[in-house]
């Protein structure tokens, strides 16, 4: 224990104590996480893509000429034939429109992260609140929220997104919002409610009520913190879902974005190179492999977090 024997009196020391406690619990979880191996593999892949995303603006400002390497409007004047195979100046070749594939890949990584994390954050904030509120109040509130959840689960996600993008012109932010609402009020909310149901019957909830705590106090001080490990897990799974949906939509050309991995495959397809994978591999593999790797890396991290928060899955 990092607590001195004299009772802490200054508020600063109180915060210091809380920080020390948080650090200790983080350390414990981290050592468990490290023991799962698949989590470390996932984390390594995520870090690799984070580095790619961070390196892009640096490269653009230093070594890469904007006219040639811009992911959207650049043109590889140094190549005679487009799409050009990988070379020293274009490590992953160029696409049918003469744009550098590596630059596109790196540029898109950042928006994939933003999309995934934003969708996950929205999903989990909505899902946790819906779950806690439905479980705590029960009755009519519960019925309304759960029937709403049924509707959300019933809606076929991708088809709804296609219709919506046709209607309102979906960009990354809207996409994250739609995914977050569909999943937060839907499946994620239901799962978190089932967890919240096992929390609301604990005597400490009654003790909080006997102390005079209102619904807001009980939901956000007692129920939500006990849901957080599970919400965090679902956050990881939502990232995977969001990146995948984005890829599907931009492959179909339904997403109003400048550049993304799905759009890279879409460009390949519309130029007629999709079925010549053997010959023009650099047009398909970098983007599709990235989608697969990043999706599975978040899934792996999620699985490993599942082991951390769920003692029954832990190997001794």
């Amino acid at each position: 224990m990092a607590v001195s024997d004299s009772p802490p009196t200054a508020p600063r020391s109180l915060w210091a104590v809380r920080a020390a406690l948080a650090a200790r619990s983080f350390k414990q979880s981290w050592s468990m996480f490290r023991g799962t191996r698949i989590g470390i593999i996932g984390l390594a892949i995520i870090l690799f893509y984070l580095l790619l995303a961070a390196a892009h603006p640096i490269l653009m400002n230093t070594v890469w000429d904007e006219k040639i390497y811009d992911p959207v409007v650049g043109y590889a004047f140094d190549e005679t034939r487009q799409p050009a195979p990988p070379s020293w100046s274009h490590p992953l070749g160029t696409d049918p429109l003469g744009r550098d594939v590596l630059s596109q890949l790196m540029y898109s990584a950042r928006s994939e992260f933003m999309l995934g994390l934003l969708a996950a954050l929205i999903t989990v904030s909505i899902g946790t609140t819906v779950g806690a509120v439905a479980a705590y109040f029960g009755g009519v509130v519960d019925t309304v929220l759960m029937r709403l959840a049924d509707i959300m689960i019933m809606l076929p996600g991708i088809s709804v997104l296609i219709v919506l993008s046709a209607l309102i012109g979906v960009e990354h932010f809207e996409l994250a919002l739609i995914i977050g609402i569909l999943s937060g009020f839907g499946g994620t909310g239901v799962v978190l409610k089932s967890q919240a149901l096992s929390v609301v019957v604990k005597p400490y909830i009654e003790a909080a009520r006997a102390a005079g705590g209102g619904p807001v106090h009980i939901i956000f001080v007692h129920i939500v913190p006990n849901l957080l490990p599970l919400s965090f897990l679902y956050m990881m799974f939502t990232v995977t879902g969001a990146i995948f949906s984005e890829a599907v939509l931009s492959f179909l050309g339904l997403l109003n974005v400048r550049m993304s991995w799905g759009l890279m495959i879409h460009t390949t397809e519309s130029a007629g190179y999709l079925l010549q994978v053997g010959e023009y591999w650099w047009l398909i593999f970098p983007a599709s492999l990235s989608i697969t790797l990043l999706c599975s890396s978040f899934y792996l991290v999620g699985r490993s977090l599942d082991e951390v928060v769920n003692p029954r899955l832990r190997r001794s």
Partner: protein, 341 residues
Amino acid sequence: MTLDIAKLVPSLDSRILLKVEGLRKYYRATANRFRRNRGLIHAVDGIDFEVAKDESLGLVGESGCGKTTTGKLLVRLIDPTAGRILLNPGQQQPTDIATLKGKPLKAFRRKVQIIFQDPYESMNPRRTIFDTVAEPLKVQKMGGTLEHLDRVSHMLELVGLTPPSTFLFRYPHELSGGQRQRVAIARALIVEPAFVVADEPTSMLDVSIRTGVMRLMEELAARLGIGYLYITHDLAVARYVCDRIAVMYLGKIVEVGETEELLQRPKHPYTQALLSAVPVPDPTFTRPPVRIKGGVSVPVDPPDQCRFYSRCPLADDFCRDNPHPPLEDKGAGQLAACYKA
């Protein structure tokens, strides 16, 4: 039929802390869309009792007789179907707890607290001991964080968790059962309540530390002038802690009296049967044959007769044809609800 003790013993009047009159709680049995009105479970069925300042009243009875429901009604964790709960009835304007709402209810929660049975489940595992004990202060907005720290430290010392600084920022899982129950007591007493409902606070503890916790509660009651309602199924615990004992059966109080008097000379046949079931540490002891028959029934729409009628060895036609007997003085301030005793 309500019996007014205050009339019998006028000197008690100003000392009475809590007065319960005709308290009832009915639950609907299996209510759903397709089967309406399957009857009412009379969990607590019109009980009257009083608790004096720094007195502890024991509420004993078997599982399912309504002890815990009574306790939760008194702290308004559940709302009563009918009846009055008066705090400080001797005062000019006693508060009727039974109908409080909103702000007055929140203010009332400072005066009455509850200690739960299970020290392992009654604390949020993600909150430190300081957070747990300071919670009532925080939700009642009593002072700032620094003041909370002082008061919590002081209270931990009072319940015997010394030095407090080694306990303040620990999590419940780092403490033993006895220590946790002391934390639960600290949480209940931090707002300086006048009345505490203790719902079997020692039943989940090892026998070796029970006395310690019981003695602590007695000591604090004397020191802080707290009245207890001590809910238990263990007559030995009740005898150790309580000044008076009330025996409950199927939602009714069947006998009330001074602890020793009641245990030595039980008047009601149910109390007699309950006492005859107490284990005796003597291998040569042969138990007199149990005179009551059957088991505890469920009080769904009970017939208007003595609740104990079907099991009572003394019951006759008079008991069958008349309503549940009122609590009557059977000598020395001992009340029993029985026509035959």
